[in-house]
Symmetry: none
Subunit: 397 residues, 4 copies
């Protein structure tokens, strides 16, 4: 059996540009699907797959996943970046999907079998005021969720409350100091109103100067967060050492990671508590499985990135890893609208705060290519990452 | 003045696929050139520039380079990878070229002025036997070079001398143990024949298991290398600490780096002696200028990557940085054939082992687009990075 | 083009002795200005420039700034001290001013272009009582300032409240224990009266014994300072490690630094949050530009020293660096009186809490030598640095 | 009793510009002498003393040396640099000279009394060839010296043997690689010819890139140096940690130090074996006495800088410290010509490799101002510190 073809399907049924890889084999009707979604640079990923990976792969044995993963990684010489890792992930997940179908087993069974029958998930509450946020939290509790990420006006306010200098360019503005003050007030309000029966999370989204993240982690302690996400930008992860000596707030990190040098020290020195990479951004299931094994050496839990720009194929891969991993923590969940389930039959479902698999072989997910074609991908300039501090300085999103 | 257009030109006058960016401004005839050459994944870079960066940039002010560099970096959210860094580099270098032309100054003058009138270079001697290598070294000495990198059969022999198991896949095979033995014997031969008047270098090309690299660095000490390149793969740079406590062989590292987390600790803890990144791979002149300043704090010298898959535009950028940087060490030089000088008028010239600039404004280099079109880029599968150890294991190139 | 002359102009239009260097070139009317103001030892700086640097420089090429910077640094063999660094700074800034004029570009454009259109500034509120301080803060808020440094009776009280022993010498006395108590009470008052809409700063001015600085940093936490300045004397910076493990109060440090060994570890180990050197004290723009790049590796921000004994030329250099630096934080501002603007046309102006450039080439500042001559420099003995603790001990200012 | 006057005397009886301070008291004929010799910037020191220190000091009590030392240090606010430290040293040594005269005791008695009756010294052998160096060593042995610093053509050869690029500026050129090879060959020759009966030293004079200094320290091990001087520039002292893990060559460091942050870590972490500061460069006897006490905590020995640009007054101060210090190691000695003894009656004398004091009160040295005036100081541009590497790069002297 060989790889006969590698195809890419782009679709945007819920707005985000999703990139799906289909690896077809020499066996009739035997193929696999993988997620290669780097939504902000999706066309570069498509080119990388169609022009660079496909010619490398066609004719090779799809069963040697570990070998092919390594080959794809080093074939370009330079590696560990978001475009190529996503391209590799698309293929890698598809190869695991094929292997599952060949075995007649769900992926979690190939990984070692289930440690749990469903994965607990967290969802996103948000609002412009403390009261609105509190209403959102209550609504999720009513739907059976127990883990709820609480944000105040997104990641720091669409508009800074602070006067900016004349001549400042267009962009998304925010002010870090008023952001942290407001979030603390909102969490205080939520805890007062709702109490301790809900697990609260919060995402800094790398927006704070390091010292403000340190202070914030300390100020959050009375609210007993389940975890605080992405305190620092990936370029600044060496600040975790300082944070860790000053606060015991549980820390989750990693949605922006592409390079092992970003996570190795954090794990081996126990500087974080949850590793939450975006698995297509690190190269797919093969890379994520190794990462589970590594993090487990240090009792660090997983909390894979699960936003709307992870495709349903990627969410399925998240879920299989979640069901197996001895050190699973919690799964982020984006609550796809109905049309996504139509384009991707088999998309995981969530009931009462738990995500359940469908127990079909492989990833257990399909794509209806005709329905997918009804949702073509736009190629807009990305606006939300054109972020600036209140004084006009360019900032991290 | 605004950015009016961003174009990409691909050409392969000497075999390697070169990717050149041309940023055109609203001023008639005012444009800049930049190198975006990631030769193994050139089409993904082209897509990234044409489809993702161009729409972001058109209409903006080309003088705010630092701001645009940051904007390009974070606009995709995920970053620090080879495809996007090269795309950014193409634009970044072109913006510096434009600024130099506006100022009427060579780039080295904008950077702070010359610290030397030319940059010393090293070239590559190679051969299948110690005698052939020695002849190659002698020939370079006769041409006026003083810094010579000595390899034995490339990076470890096209074919391993060791029997491999039946059923091993196709690929480029090598055996690390015989490689190190042969290189040591060849260096011994060269030193005996030629003496101490030549500076010898060697490139491990990340191919050795870490402990073999440690042993090798120690075994090399009697030969007084100027430096040893790329002892470890970028994923394994934390091994430098061990190496450094065992050997004083001078260490150069970095051609594969894309991410600040790969180089920060190596520099701040003085674990290497020469930082030799490929400057388009870290994002261009803006990134390299910051890196020069950072490395200078620790008396670590620069030795930018300068192979045939850095375009002449990239070599010009290397040279301008070399002439300015207070901590310049040595420049790798690939000796372009004549037709490259015809496609790229202003390509740096080397005389008597020194590379000289032409003192025109900006980068001082042009592209003859008609001549460039005569050398279209092939899109072959990359063979030389399909490397395997003698037992068939996938290996790093 | 060569350096034709190096002249020094001293003037004191607002009380402080300012030292300005004028580097004249062989081109008619092409010259540059630089700040060499070490107000307490201004005549030693004048001698260093006129007798030692001028003969070294005349006849050399002014475009090789990096080379000349290095030459000036090592020509005296001993280096990194305040007299010589200021002398070098005077020349270095003037060379950058010349380069900007030659290029027809403001200095910020040579540095890499603007990252913001103006620089946010902080000013100094002071008073003998909590109420007086609060009034001063309110007045600055009314003028549009948002960052306000709050002091209580200067840096600890003109007179200690504690009885000193008979026979104690003359001097400026203070008592560290009552100083910290009073400042904490005043900050509590200001926060109660004015709330969270103002960013407060405080300057210890190196006056506390290390353990009292540690305690103070912790006691300050409820007041959410933007930063705390100069916790320790430069001789005691190794105490930052201890402080950092005990407090997350943001730390700014550096106005007294002259030597790279004073700042390197603080930055690379992330022991401070803002580097706020006096840029003429570290050698000028060349040194400051390298320092920006170094600090940026660690997400540490700049907050250059900007008191009345930085000349308007030095403030202009601060501003150009501020507009460019990707990691700019905030700029100290001394609010020059009107006659300073007359002596130095082009002195930066502040509106609504932001400092704006004038966009002329180079530093964009001039000196009216006739007006300057109307304000000759006195050579008084410096009184305010003759400081003593309450028991008569000699103390750091 | 008060300080009545502070005067400066400059003289150059042996070529080097020497700066002597004379502090006169209100007691008739009671005065002290101190060394303020910063020969490369002597006029800046003169101004600092006459214009800045003198007005501060006149009228104060000369007996409070520790208090005045502190006052002089902090009165300029910025401190720890070469111009001001030398100015302070001139006064500080003179105050100790006065105190000794008042007590009727040599300075070593005030310090705590003699631990030895004379100080062993080392002298400088040099030559253009190994044979010439060996002859020089033999000649010193014949004169009774046992500690001999061996240099080959100064600090690396007046002229590099390596071709430099066209257009290189004037300067003193050297090539680090040929320098180390030649010194090793010369030491091998000397050990073979003379054997182990002589203690050999060598001075790198901060000229090597750090990694070459590391290699050199290891390569020197077979020759059993007494110590290796100044392996690194003062800006690069953090490299000692690396050197120390790789070599046990005894290390002396410090002639360029002005700032406690340069020496504290080296001593407290036992990274050097001999502290050899230039005592007027750290502020004089008060500072040196504290440094002796500190180094003694770690069994690190002293080896004060003693070249021809330490005045005889400074050599006398060195000697008094040497006689007292429990952790004295060895004293550098420059062998003054006869006329220096005439200008400075009481200049220490060396017999059979030991330097002896004259046992007069205080420093035991005088200046014949009339004879001193016969040797006025030139103000040439310093040439020997305009050093460049073989490729034209600016280098450290």
């Amino acid at each position: 059996m060989t790889i006969r073809n590698v195809r890419v399907i782009c679709t945007a049924p819920a707005g985000a540009r999703l990139v799906i890889v289909k690896v077809e084999t020499s066996e009739p009707d035997l193929f696999g699907l993988g997620c290669a979604t780097f939504t902000q640079r999706h066309l570069a990923v498509v080119t990388a797959i169609e022009k660079h990976l496909k010619p490398l792969l066609v004719g090779r044995d799809p069963s040697c996943i570990e070998d092919l993963f390594h080959l794809m990684m080093v074939n370009g010489y330079w590696r560990n970046g978001p475009v190529l890792n996503n391209a590799i992930s698309g293929v890698d997940m598809a190869l695991w999907d094929i292997k599952g179908k060949l075995a007649g087993m769900p992926l979690y069974d190939l990984l070692g079998g289930k440690c749990r029958s469903a994965a607990q998930v967290y969802v996103h509450a948000d609002g412009a005021t403390a009261a609105a946020v509190c209403d959102s939290v209550r609504s999720f509790l009513d739907q059976g969720y127990r883990f709820i990420r609480v944000q105040q006006s997104g990641y720091g306010g669409a508009e800074s409350r602070v006067r900016r200098p004349a001549g400042s360019p267009a962009g998304v503005y925010y002010d870090t100091r008023s952001y942290t003050r407001e979030v603390l007030a909102t969490l205080d309000h939520v805890r007062n109103e709702i109490g301790e029966s809900v697990e609260l999370l919060h995402d800094v989204h790398e927006r704070l100067p390091p010292i403000e993240a340190l202070q914030f982690a300390r100020d959050l302690e009375p609210f007993g967060l389940y975890f605080l996400e992405d305190c620092f930008a990936p370029e600044d992860v060496d600040w975790f050492e300082r944070l860790r000596t000053l606060s015991s707030t549980p820390l989750a990190m990693g949605e922006l990671f592409n390079n092992p040098n970003e996570w190795k020290k954090l794990i081996a020195e126990r500087l974080i508590d949850f590793v939450r990479v975006h698995i297509s951004q690190i190269g797919g299931v093969t890379a994520a499985r190794h990462l589970v094994s590594f993090a487990a050496q240090y009792a660090i839990r997983t909390a894979w990135h699960g936003p709307g720009d992870v495709s349903p194929v990627g969410h399925a891969a998240n879920l299989h890893l979640d069901l197996w991993a001895p050190n699973f923590g919690v799964q982020e969940w984006c609550r796809f609208p109905e049309q996504v389930y139509e384009v991707f039959p088999g998309t995981p479902v969530v009931r009462d705060g738990y995500m359940y698999p469908n127990d079909r072989p492989g990833l257990g997910i399909e794509i209806d290519e005709k329905r997918a074609a009804e949702y073509p991908c736009p190629n807009d300039v990305i606006e939300w990452t054109q972020v600036r501090r209140h004084d006009g300085s360019p900032a991290r999103p």
